[in-house]
C-alpha cells in the first residue's frame, strides 16, 4: 500500500547508498544453488582450490594436476569450491498491530526489509517475499538480480493492513514449503495471540537459518510514557477486539513490565540457543542507524 509505506520513501537514494557497504555472509549455503558469492559445500568449477581427487573418466582433463602426476605417477584432478547464492526469504508481518499508532511499526519494518533485500540482491543472492497475518501469502519467489529490487520494493509498498498475527502458523507453513535452505528473515512484532512459546516452537522446526527483526516501540517496555495509559482504562486489542479493563497503578505496571521482559528474554534466549540473529528495531528510531549497528564492520555473518 503506497500510502502506508510510500514507495518513494523506500527508494531513498541516501539510504540505499549507505547500504552498499554492507555485506551479508553465510557460513555455508546449501547445495544446488546458482553460482554466486557465498561459500557452499559443492565442489566443482570455481576459483577457490579445495582438494585433489583421483581422476575418473569423465573428469575435466583441464583439472588434471600434471605436477602431481610427474612426482607420483598417478593422475589426480584439482577440485574447486563452488560459490553459490544464499536464498533469503523475507517473512513480513502485515497484521493490524503493525499498522497501529502514529508512527506504525510497518514503516520501519518495510524499510529494514527493503534495505536487507537491497544488500542481498547486490551480492547476487536471491530474495523471496512472504507476507502473513492469519494467512501466508507468497508475494515474490526467491529470485536474484539487482533489477529485482524495484519489483521487491513495489510489492513491499503494496502490503496493506490485514488481520491477526498468526506467526507460528505462518512459520509452520513456510517450513512446509519445499524451499531451498536459506535465511528466513522474520519482520514482525511477534505479538502472536498464541503466545511466544508457540512462535518459538514453530521456529525450532524451521530448517532455515533465522534472522529475527523484532519491531518495538518505547511504550511496549514502558507503558508509562503513553499519555493515556494510567488509571482506569479499557484496553482494546487492535486485532481481536478483545477488551481488558485495567486499573493501571504502580503494581500493575511493574507486573506488566515483568511479563514483557520475560517475553523478550524468551525470544532472545531462543535466538542465542539456535544461532539466530535478533534485532530489536525501534519503530520510532532511525532504521539505518540500527542496521548499521547490526552490520559490524559492514559485515553480517549468518
Amino acid at each position: 500500500m503506497a500510502s502506508r509505506a510510500a514507495f518513494d520513501a523506500l527508494f531513498d537514494p541516501d539510504f540505499l547508498t549507505a547500504l552498499e557497504r554492507f555485506r551479508l555472509h553465510a557460513k555455508r549455503v546449501s547445495p544446488a544453488g546458482r553460482h554466486a558469492d557465498q561459500a557452499s559445500r559443492d565442489r566443482g568449477a570455481g576459483l577457490e582450490f579445495a582438494d585433489y581427487k583421483p581422476y575418473v573418466p569423465g573428469d575435466d582433463l583441464r583439472a588434471i594436476d600434471w605436477n602431481v602426476y610427474r612426482r607420483l605417477g598417478r593422475v589426480f584432478v584439482r577440485v574447486f569450491e563452488e560459490r553459490q547464492d544464499l536464498p533469503v526469504y523475507m517473512l513480513v508481518d502485515r497484521s493490524k498491530s503493525m499498522f497501529l499508532e502514529r508512527r506504525p511499526r510497518i514503516d520501519a519494518g518495510l524499510k529494514a526489509a527493503f534495505g536487507l533485500a537491497s544488500i542481498v540482491l547486490a551480492q547476487h543472492d536471491s530474495v523471496g517475499l512472504f507476507a502473513f497475518s492469519n494467512t501466508l501469502e507468497v508475494k515474490i519467489k526467491a529470485t536474484s538480480g539487482r533489477n529485482r529490487l524495484m519489483t521487491f520494493g513495489r510489492q513491499l509498498a503494496c502490503l496493506d493492513e490485514a488481520h491477526e498475527t498468526c506467526l507460528a502458523d505462518a512459520v509452520h507453513r513456510l517450513a512446509g514449503m519445499r524451499l531451498r535452505r536459506g535465511l528466513l528473515v522474520i519482520v514482525s512484532d511477534f505479538f502472536d495471540p498464541a503466545g511466544i512459546e508457540a512462535v518459538v516452537a514453530a521456529m525450532k522446526l524451521c530448517r532455515h537459518r533465522l534472522l529475527l527483526l523484532q519491531l518495538s516501540k518505547d511504550a511496549d517496555a514502558n507503558p508509562g510514557v503513553h499519555k493515556d495509559l494510567h488509571g482506569d482504562v479499557r484496553l482494546l486489542d487492535c486485532e481481536s477486539g478483545a477488551a481488558v479493563d485495567v486499573t493501571i497503578g504502580p503494581a500493575v505496571l511493574a507486573r506488566y513490565q515483568e511479563i514483557y521482559q520475560a517475553f523478550n528474554d524468551r525470544l532472545a534466549g531462543f535466538a542465542q540457543q539456535h544461532g539466530a540473529g535478533l534485532i530489536r528495531l525501534n519503530a520510532d528510531g532511525d532504521v539505518l542507524e540500527q542496521l548499521r549497528a547490526l552490520f559490524v564492520s559492514g559485515r553480517l555473518l549468518v
Binding site: 499508532e101 512484532d189 482506569d232 482504562v233 484496553l235 477488551a243 485495567v246 486499573t247 507486573r255
Partner: protein, 600 residues
C-alpha cells in the same frame, strides 16, 4: 441521649444517608477510558494478578461494608456531639442574668456571672437557655449551644443604666407559647420580680434566685429630674426639679441626702445665678435656669451601692421669644366690611385683640410692622408685599373655601399633618359649632404643602359679632399658631429610661411640640437606657435612669433562693474523643486487613 450539634432526626438521617452512599459506593464501578493497543497479551496477564475496579458489581462484601459503615457512623456521631441527659425530667431551665442598674454593683455582677457559668456547666444543653436582661433582652445561649460560647459572650457584657426587664421577660415567656409547660427561671442578679408578675405566672412556671444577696448598704439615687416654666415668670428660664431617693437605713431615708452632696453642672459650667433649694427631704428645685438648650447634669457625690443612679442628665429647653410683626390696617380692613357707624370701634377692637393676645404671651414679642428680624407676620391677603417668612394671613371668605388653611413645608403625609395641626394650633379649643352657626358656613381645616409655613383664616371670623376674638380660644390659637409658624423646637419635661415620652409631651402644656422631633422619636418610643438619644441626626436628648425601683433597692416579691449547685446533668462531650479513637482503631484494622489481602 441527645446531641449537642444536631437534632436526633438529623443524626439518624445522616446515618441513613451514609449507609446509602456507602452501599452505592460498594456497587459502583469506575468508568474506563477505551484505548486501542497493539496487543492486550501482556496486560491480560498482569491484570490476572491485580483485579481491576469495576463500575458496578454484585454486592458481596458485607463485612467490609459494615466495617466502613461503622467507621463513618462513629465519626458522624462524634460530629453530632452526643451527650447523655442525666437530668431525666423534661423541665426547661431559663437562666436570666440581670444586666440592669439593679446589679450595677461590680461585685454583684461578677458574682452573678460566676454562678451562671458554673450552673450552665451542670445543665443539659438541650433543655437550658441563657438570657441577658440589660436595656434589651439578649439571648446568650440557645438550647443545644455549646457552653464554651457563654464565657466569650459574657466577656463583653456590663450592667446598663436601665430598669430591670425581668418582669417583661417573664410575661413574654408565658405568652409566646415557645416554651414547654414546665419552665424554671433562675435569676442571677438583684433584679426584682414584681408581685403581680409572680402571681400571674402559669402553674408550670417557677422563678427562683440563684444567689441570695445580703441587704444592700446605703444607696442614694436620682429618681426625678424634670423641667417646668420658671415660677418667676421669666420666659427664657425654667425651674428644674430633682428627686433623690435614699435607702438602706431609716435615718438615711428620713434625713435624705445632704444638699452639699449634690453637684450640678450646666453645659460644663456652674449654675450661675440659679439657686438650688430643698423643698422636702427628697426633693430639690433649681430655679431660674437659663433655657438655652444646654445639658444639665446632676451628680450625687457620695460613694454608695449603685453607681449608675448617681448621675442624671437633662436637655434644657431652648426658649427664645418669637418676634411677630402685625401689618398695619388689619383692623381697619376688617372693619370696613361691617357697618360704618361702628367701623372705628370694630377696628380698634380687632387690633387690640391681636395685640393683646401677643402681649399676653411672654414667648411672643411684638415688633414693628417693617422689622427685618420678625419671625412671623400677621397680614392681610390683599397685602401685595412678597411673603418671605411664615405668616398668618387674613383672607375674605369669598376667596377661601375653608375657614382655616395650613401650609406646611416638606414631604409629609397630609392626613398626619391635618390630625396633628388641630391640637398644635389650638384649633381643638375653638367653638367651631358656634362659629359655623354665626357665619352660616361649615368651619373646616385644610392643609397643603407650600414654600413657607402659613396659616390662612377667614378675615370675617375676626369680626366682633362672631365672638371669636373675644373668646378664650383666640389667644391660644394665635399663640400656638405663631409658635408653630416660627418653628419653635419641641422639648420634654423629662426623659427617663423605660418610660415612653409621647404621653408626657402630648399632655404637656409647657410648650408646643413641633411636628419634627416627636414624630421622629415615634409615638411609642421608649428609651431603653440612660444616655444620649439623637433625633434626626442632629438633635440630642439626654435620657436618665430615674427609677424608684432601682434607687430604692427594691427587692420585689419574695422568691425562693435555690442554687442549682453542681451538675444535675452531665454533658458527655468527652465521648467524642473516644468515638474518634474507636474510628481510628477501626481504620487501622481495615488497613491491616487490606494489606493482608483479607478484604477488597
Amino acid at each position: 441521649m441527645s446531641f449537642l450539634n444536631l437534632g436526633l432526626p438529623a443524626v439518624l438521617a445522616g446515618l441513613a444517608g451514609l449507609a446509602g452512599i456507602l452501599f452505592v459506593l460498594q456497587q459502583l464501578r469506575v468508568r474506563h477510558a477505551a484505548i486501542t493497543v497493539p496487543t492486550t497479551l501482556f496486560w491480560a496477564a498482569a491484570v490476572r494478578e491485580a483485579p481491576v475496579r469495576v463500575f458496578r458489581r454484585r454486592f458481596r462484601h458485607w463485612l467490609a461494608y459494615l466495617l466502613a459503615l461503622l467507621i463513618c457512623a462513629l465519626l458522624w456521631i462524634g460530629f453530632a456531639g452526643p451527650e447523655v441527659d442525666r437530668q431525666g425530667g423534661a423541665e426547661h431551665t431559663v437562666l436570666f442574668l440581670d444586666g440592669s442598674a439593679h446589679t450595677s454593683d461590680p461585685a454583684d455582677f461578677e458574682r452573678a456571672k460566676r454562678e451562671l457559668v458554673n450552673d450552665v456547666a451542670g445543665l443539659s444543653p438541650g433543655s437550658r437557655e441563657v438570657l441577658f436582661g440589660g436595656a434589651h433582652t439578649l439571648k446568650l445561649l440557645d438550647p443545644g449551644e455549646d457552653r464554651l460560647l457563654l464565657e466569650k459572650r459574657l466577656a463583653s457584657l456590663a450592667p446598663e443604666a436601665s430598669p430591670s426587664r425581668l418582669d417583661e421577660q417573664l410575661r413574654l415567656m408565658t405568652r409566646n407559647g415557645a416554651y414547654p409547660e414546665t419552665v424554671r427561671v433562675v435569676v442571677y442578679g438583684r433584679a426584682p420580680v414584681g408581685d403581680r408578675t409572680l402571681a400571674e405566672l402559669p402553674a408550670g412556671f417557677s422563678v427562683s434566685r440563684a444567689v441570695g444577696y445580703a441587704p444592700a448598704a446605703v444607696n442614694h439615687g436620682i429618681t426625678a429630674l424634670g423641667v417646668g416654666p420658671a415660677a418667676s415668670g421669666a420666659w427664657d428660664r425654667v425651674d428644674v426639679q430633682i428627686g433623690i431617693t435614699s435607702s438602706g437605713g431609716s435615718s438615711v431615708a428620713a434625713d435624705g441626702l445632704p444638699i452639699g452632696d449634690l453637684q450640678i453642672g450646666i453645659g460644663g459650667r456652674d449654675t450661675g445665678d440659679a439657686v438650688l433649694t430643698r423643698v422636702s427631704a427628697d426633693r430639690f428645685v433649681l430655679r431660674d435656669v437659663l433655657a438655652d438648650g444646654a445639658t444639665l447634669e446632676v451628680r450625687i457625690d457620695v460613694a454608695d451601692k449603685l453607681p449608675l443612679d448617681n448621675v442624671a442628665r437633662l436637655t434644657l429647653p431652648e426658649r427664645s421669644r418669637v418676634r411677630v410683626a402685625v401689618a398695619g390696617g388689619v383692623g381697619s380692613a376688617i372693619a370696613s366690611t361691617v357697618d360704618s357707624t361702628i367701623g372705628s370701634t370694630v377696628d380698634a377692637t380687632i387690633d387690640s385683640a391681636i395685640h393683646n393676645a401677643i402681649r399676653a404671651d411672654k414667648g411672643l414679642e411684638l415688633v414693628a410692622e417693617d422689622a427685618d428680624d420678625a419671625d412671623v407676620i400677621v397680614r392681610l391677603a390683599s397685602d401685595t408685599r412678597p411673603i418671605d417668612r411664615p405668616a398668618i394671613t387674613l383672607r375674605p371668605m369669598a376667596d377661601q373655601d375653608t375657614a382655616f388653611e395650613i401650609a406646611y413645608v416638606g414631604e409629609r403625609d397630609t392626613r398626619q399633618v391635618l390630625e396633628a395641626s388641630v391640637a398644635r394650633l389650638g384649633l381643638d379649643q375653638i367653638d367651631a359649632m358656634a362659629l359655623a352657626s354665626a357665619v352660616d358656613r361649615p368651619i373646616g381645616v385644610a392643609v397643603f404643602e407650600g414654600a413657607e409655613r402659613q396659616v390662612s383664616i377667614w378675615s370675617e371670623l375676626l369680626q366682633p359679632n362672631y365672638n371669636f376674638v373675644h373668646s378664650r380660644s383666640f389667644p391660644l390659637f394665635l399663640s400656638k399658631s405663631l409658635r408653630w409658624l416660627a418653628g419653635e423646637q419641641a422639648w420634654y419635661a423629662y426623659l427617663a429610661a423605660g418610660r415612653t415620652v409621647t404621653e408626657q409631651s402630648a399632655r404637656s402644656s409647657l410648650g408646643p411640640a413641633d411636628d419634627g422631633a416627636l414624630e421622629t422619636l415615634g409615638a411609642d418610643y421608649l428609651p431603653a437606657r440612660a444616655g444620649t438619644v439623637t433625633v434626626d441626626g442632629d438633635a440630642d436628648w439626654q435620657v436618665s435612669l430615674l427609677s424608684e425601683a432601682v434607687s430604692g433597692l427594691s427587692a420585689g416579691a419574695a422568691v425562693e433562693t435555690s442554687a442549682l449547685g453542681t451538675a444535675v446533668g452531665v454533658p458527655l462531650t468527652g465521648l467524642v474523643p473516644w468515638l474518634i479513637l474507636a474510628a481510628l482503631l477501626l481504620f487501622g484494622i481495615e488497613w491491616y486487613l487490606y494489606q493482608r489481602g483479607l478484604m477488597p
